[in-house]
Amino acid sequence: MNAMLAFIRRVANLCSKELRVILKDPASRVLLFVPALLQSLMFGYAATLDLREAPYALLDQDHGPAAVQLVANVEGSGVFRRVATLDNERDIASVVDAGKVLFVLHIAPRFEQRLSAGEDTPVQVILDARNSTTAGTASGYLGAIVSRFNTDWRTGHGGADAPLTMDVRAWYNPNLETRWFMMSSMIAVLSMLQTLMLTALSVAREREQGTFDQLLVTPCTPTEIMIGKSVPSIFVGLVQSTLVLLIATLWFHIPMAGSLVTLYTGLLVFTVACVGIGLAISSLAVNMQQAMLYTFVLMMPLVLLSGMTTPIANMPTAMQWLTTINPARYAIHLVQRVYLEGVGLGTVIADIVPLLIIAAVTLPFSAWLFRHRLV
């Protein structure tokens, strides 16, 4: 019983010391929270694949009422904004080349005439596909606009209604906003960077400054030292997640469908797994610079292969296998399922178990490395 109490006391002392090290320096205090705040706000706005007032140029060589109607449909959608009106085909290259417009809508002469004659009439779009995602999205929108125009035209000119109508509904994100996806991913990922970095630096810093040897002469065991190093990082990571969560719900008004208890259970396990990785880096690195570089080199694949930037299902099979050891992958999946879909603990257990396994491998491994390196 006494041994237990002494253990808790030593760990608590170590924790408070570590927390003080992190929060002592005003610059690092600011750096712990302000970047998370700024980045989640900024990226909440920036990270969108939805088009809003995307610039386009019009080359209308017909000027008939049908052409005017088509243009009105394009502009009435709020998706596209005309920034240039061209007079001839020679001008197309210069506006597209300069990146001033996403596409040029080219309505050829005799548009109205051919349409009225009942012909299948082409209208040309020249898309700047330097960013193929944006180009694809724009072309999707345009396709929908043209098919709506066709329906109106057909019914307005004595034709039958379109034979087939598709009623589309989106679950979990009714307006299909990219931001919902991004912000929920960031609840997990934004804190990962700092959790890893803080833990990785903590031991490396002591080693570089020579205070690690002092720690060793204290009655603390390596396990206690490890716990003392982990708890503050876990705490900081969870606070950062909370910050992003607050911005998502209060600022961007993304409705939280699931339970906070489930969400935090998942986040806690994820942060522990990250701390495990951070500690392993920390025991491998000789100095702070190495710890930082190793963290960073590891960080990039962890984020890129997490499903946040591009879906895992689009990756080649080998890469998909590789993602099974990536904690960020499970964390993003888990947060999205809880946040957007509102699933319970029973469902996300499938994501929690791999995270627990990662923690169960990395933590003892780094403890072993500690001891190994002490001798």
């Binding site: 320096d25 610059a27 750096l31 700024l38 900024m42 969108t48 694949l49 939805d50 995307a54 610039p55 080349d97 990146g99 009225s116 004659a117 009942g118 012909e119 299948d120 009439t121 209208v123 779009v125 020249i126 596909a129 330097r130 193929s132 944006t134 999205t137 999707g140 345009l142 396709g143 043209v146 066709n150 035209w153 057909r154 004595g158 034709g159 039958a160 034979p163 087939l164 109508t165 598709m166 589309v168 989106a170 679950w171 979990y172 299909l176 990219t178 996806f181 960077l193 970095m197 610079q289 930082m292 570089l293 960073f296 080199v297 990039m300 890129l304 591009t310 689009n314 990756m315 999205q336």
Partner: protein, 376 residues
């Protein structure tokens, strides 16, 4: 410049190169990270949806309905699975085994004959971009089937009424693959990483340990110290860049329409900007942790998120666009993408080069000032 300058510069540079080569972690950042990133970006990341799982609920078992679904099977982008009931489909969606549900109601073929059929498409909206892409694919596959069926039955609904079809031409990316725009963007990231992040880290370490002050008491001048720091990292940055270029050309068949020399030239300009930012950050913070965080927040993350690399600047709210426009990475990205995919577009090249040179001069001068002030 007298002979002393060159002699001292050479000696200092030699020392820096040795220091760089001594620590494996530095080289890992400079060489291994670009390699890993090239592989991930070239093979791993793709916005192009392929074989998206779609549950199809056929409440109508007529040949017409079957023909309709055959159209979906032909699409390389969709992987339809026919399920027995809406209930089964919903379960698949709840387990996220499928990305969408397409439902053909029992009166589908009867109403299609009347020219008024409805199908229902339910999307799993969590990943909005993928959902929208799938919607487009289903829509066009169904439209195709409708046309085929109309042709087969021989009676187009109303031959006298015309319709408009969209004729698309994709400029600069005929293959329409995301690899083509991801790889040039990767060069921007790697140059930023090596230039700003690595340099800030290494310099901050010297400030923190006081080894820079030790150098100040020798006859070397701050300019020489800075130049000697820049040269090895410039070399590492160029190695990363060349690896990317080779990979782009030979591994991923990304076309390089513009001049290779121009690509190298603008990269040199941007590398100077990035190196300058790294030096400046370290001189301001003089602390490894703070410097690394600052480098991350001011150079790397914006280069990833706000430069038009993945997310098109033109879709962002004005305030965010302004931030993006101010970043040097955005200008490098713009000129690089054009050089790769569009060719030597002189107005784009000249405008962005002038901006990059301007940044390089300002940032390097500021780094120089910051370093001198400390000497006094």
């Amino acid at each position: 410049m007298n002979g002393g300058f060159w002699r001292r510069l050479l000696a200092l540079t030699r020392k820096e190169v040795k220091q760089l080569l001594r620590d494996r972690s530095n080289l890992m950042m400079g060489i291994a990270l670009p390699l890993v990133l090239i592989l991930i970006f070239g093979y791993g990341l793709s916005f192009d949806v392929k074989n998206a799982p779609v549950a199809v609920v056929m409440e109508d078992h007529s040949p017409t309905a079957n023909d309709m679904i055959a159209g979906l099977r032909l699409s390389p982008y969709l992987a339809p699975t026919v399920v027995d009931s809406m209930h089964d489909a919903e379960n698949l969606m709840l387990a996220r085994k499928v990305d969408a549900i397409l439902r053909l109601p029992s009166d589908f073929s009867r109403r299609l004959g009347l020219g008024d059929a409805h199908v229902q498409l339910i999307l799993h909206g969590a990943d909005a971009n993928t959902s929208r892409t799938i919607q487009g694919y289903v829509q066009s596959a169904l439209a195709q089937s409708t046309v085929v069926q109309a042709d087969r039955s021989g009676d187009t609904p109303s031959p006298a009424v015309g319709s408009v079809h969209l004729e698309q031409r994709l400029w600069f990316n005929e293959a329409n693959t995301s690899t083509w725009f991801l790889v040039p963007g990767l060069i921007v990231l790697i140059t930023t990483l090596v230039g700003a992040f690595l340099t800030a880290l290494v310099m901050a370490r010297e400030w923190e340990r006081g080894t820079l002050e030790a150098l100040f008491v020798t006859p070397v001048r701050p300019l020489e110290i800075l130049l000697a720091k820049i040269i090895p990292y410039f070399g590492v940055g160029m190695i990363g860049l060349l690896m990317c270029l080779v990979a782009a050309r030979f591994l991923f068949d990304v076309p390089i329409y513009g001049s290779l020399w121009l690509i190298l030239l603008v990269s040199v300009f941007y590398l100077f900007v990035a190196l300058g930012i790294g030096l400046l950050i370290s001189a301001v913070t003089k602390n490894q942790f703070t410097a690394s965080q600052l480098a991350l927040v001011t150079s790397f993350m914006p280069a990833l998120m706000l430069s038009g690399f993945i997310y098109d600047l033109r879709n962002m709210p004005l305030a965010v666009q302004v931030v993006g426009r101010v970043l040097p990475a955005t200008h490098y990205m713009e000129v690089l993408k054009s050089l790769f995919l569009a060719g030597n577009l002189w107005p784009v090249i000249l405008k962005n080069c002038v901006i990059l040179i301007g940044y390089a001069v300002v940032v390097l001068a500021a780094a120089r000032m910051k370093t001198r002030k400390l000497l006094e």
